[in-house]
Amino acid sequence: MSLRLNTPATRLWDAAAYLVMGTLSLLCVAPIVWTFLTSIKHEADIISPVLHYIPPSVTWENYAKLWTQSGYPVLVLNSLVVTTLTVAICLLAGTPAAYAVSRTRFRGRRALMLGYLVVRMFPAVLMIVPLFVVMRGLGLLDTRAGLAVAYTSFLLPLFIWMLKGFFDAAPPELEAAARVDGATRGGAMVRIVLPIARNGLLATAVFVGIGAWNEFLFALMLTTSQGSRTWPVGLQLMVGEFQLPWGMLAAGGIISILPVVVLFALVQRAMVTGIAAGAVKG
C-alpha cells in the first residue's frame, strides 16, 4: 500500500503494525536467546529452584563437554558429508530438469510438475520402510551416501520447483540471441542462463542444504552406528544417555542452528522470493 495519506487512521494502523511486528519478532527469537543463555550457564544454575534469567556466571563447559564427551564432532562431520552429497545430487540431477520444465514445451509438462508436488504427499514412513529394505540389500543401509540418496526423495522435487521459478524469471531473449550467435542449446544454458540465475541457484542449494542438515526421521531409521549417524539423531539419543542434559542439549542446539541462521541471513532475500514463487505459482 503505497497510498500513504498521513491521516489519523493510517497512523493508527502503522502503530498497530509496529506492535504486531515487535511482539511477533520477540516471540520468534526469545526461545533461541533462552537456549543460548541456558547453554552458557553452569549445571547448578540451570537446575536451581530460583530461575536465573541472566546467567550468574558464564561458562563454556557445556560446549566443551559436548565436543569432547559425546562424539559431537563426528556427528557434525557426518551431517556435513550427507548435506554436501544431497546438494550435489540435487544440483546435478535437478538443474537440467528445472531448466527443461522452464524453457521447453512438451506434452505432459504440467502433469510432471504436478507429479513432483504429489510426491510430497507420500508419508515418510511409507517410503522409509521400503527404502530400509532396499538399502539393506544394496549395502547402503547405515552409510552416509545411502542417507543422502534417501534425502533426495523429498528434496529433489522441492529443488526443481524452486529453481524453475528462478529460471522463469530469467529473460529467454538472451539465450535466443546467444543461439543466433552460434551457441548450442547446452552452451546457452551453461554460459547464459546459469550465470543470470546464479543467486537463485545459490538460494535453492542453501534451502535444500538446510533441509538435509535439519532432517531427523530418515536419519533415525536409516543409520544405526556412529559411522554415519547425523547430529539430530545424536542429539536425540543424548536424552536417553545422560540424565536431563539440558546444558549440553542447549549447546548442541545452538551449534547446530548456527550455520542455518548464518546461511539464511546471507541469502534470505533470494531464498524468500524462491520459496514464495515456487508455492504461489504451483
Binding site: M1, S2, L3, W13, A16, A17, Y18, M21, L24, S25, C28, P31, T35, P49, L51, A93, P96, A97, A100, R105, F106, R109, R120, M121, F122, P123, L126, M127, I128, V129, P130, L131, V133, V134, A150, T152, S153, L156, I210, W213, N214, E215, F216, L217, M221, P232, L235, Q236, W246, L249, G253, S256, V260, V261, Q268, I275, A276, A277, A279, G282
Partner: protein
Amino acid sequence: MSEGRFWALLLLFPSLLVITAVVLYPTATGFLLSVQELRLNRPQLGNDWVGLRHYADMVSDPVFWTSLKNTAVWVTASVIIELFLGLTAALALNRGLPGTRAFAVLILVPMFLPNIVAGHMWALMLDPRLGVVNDILMRLNLIDGYKAWFADPSTAMGAAIAVEAWHSFPFFTLLLLAGLKGIPEDLYKAAAIDGAGALAQLRLITLPQLRTVIAAAVILRVIGLVNSPDLLLVLTNGGPGRSTQVLSLYAFQTAYKDFDFGYAGALSVVMFALLMVFAWAYVALLRVDRD
C-alpha cells in the same frame, strides 16, 4: 520425435531416474507391504500376502481411531492458528514501514530451525520445574502453580500445538507476504476513493485476492502436519497415555519399535489417501484451480 522434445527428455532423464529409484519404487513397494506380513522381529511368521487384513485390523484397533481423532485436532488447530498469525504478520510487514526488513528476518527464523532443536528448546522452556514459561505466567498471575504441560493429558495437545504454531506460522507469513505484493495497487486506490476503510479493504480486496495463495499454503502445511511426526516425537512421544498420539507417529512407532512393517505400511497408505481426498475436496470447494 522433435529436437525440442528429445532435448527436454535428455535434461529430465537424471531427475526421473532418481525420483523413480527413491520415490516411486519405494512408495509402490510400500503399497504392496500394506497387504503383506512383514515383521522383522518375528521372521517365523513368514512373508505372506494377507490381502486387506491389516486394513481390517485397523477398523477394530482403538489406537488407530484415537490417532485419527488426534490428527484431526492437531492439524485443524495448528493450521487455523498459523494462518491467523501468518496473515497478521504479513499484513503488518506489507505496510513497508522503516525497519520492516529486520523484523521480517527475525519473524522468518523459526521455520528454518530443525524440528529437533525447536522441540528441545520448548521442552526446556515448558519444563515443570525449570521452565521459564511457568515462571513468567506465575509472575503475571495467570496460573497459580507450576504446570506440567506435557505430563497432563488435558494440556499436552494444546502445548504441542502452541510449539508447532511458533515453528510454522512464518511459513504462512512468507507465502502470504509474496501474495500481498502481487495485489494490484489500483484496487486499493479505487476502494479508498469509494470510502472503504481498512477492514472493508481487507474483507473485499485482500482476502479474495489471496485465495489461491492461502489455498496453496494450507495444502502444503496440512501435508507437512499429517506426514511428519518429528515434533511430537520429541515433545511427547504420543503421551501422556495416548493424548497426543497422531497417525504419523503411530505408523512410525509401528515400524520402528514393533518392526511391524506391514501394518505400518497400511497406516501410511491411509494417511496418503486422506491427504489426497483432502487436497482434492479443498481445491474443488474453493474452485482455486479456475484462477
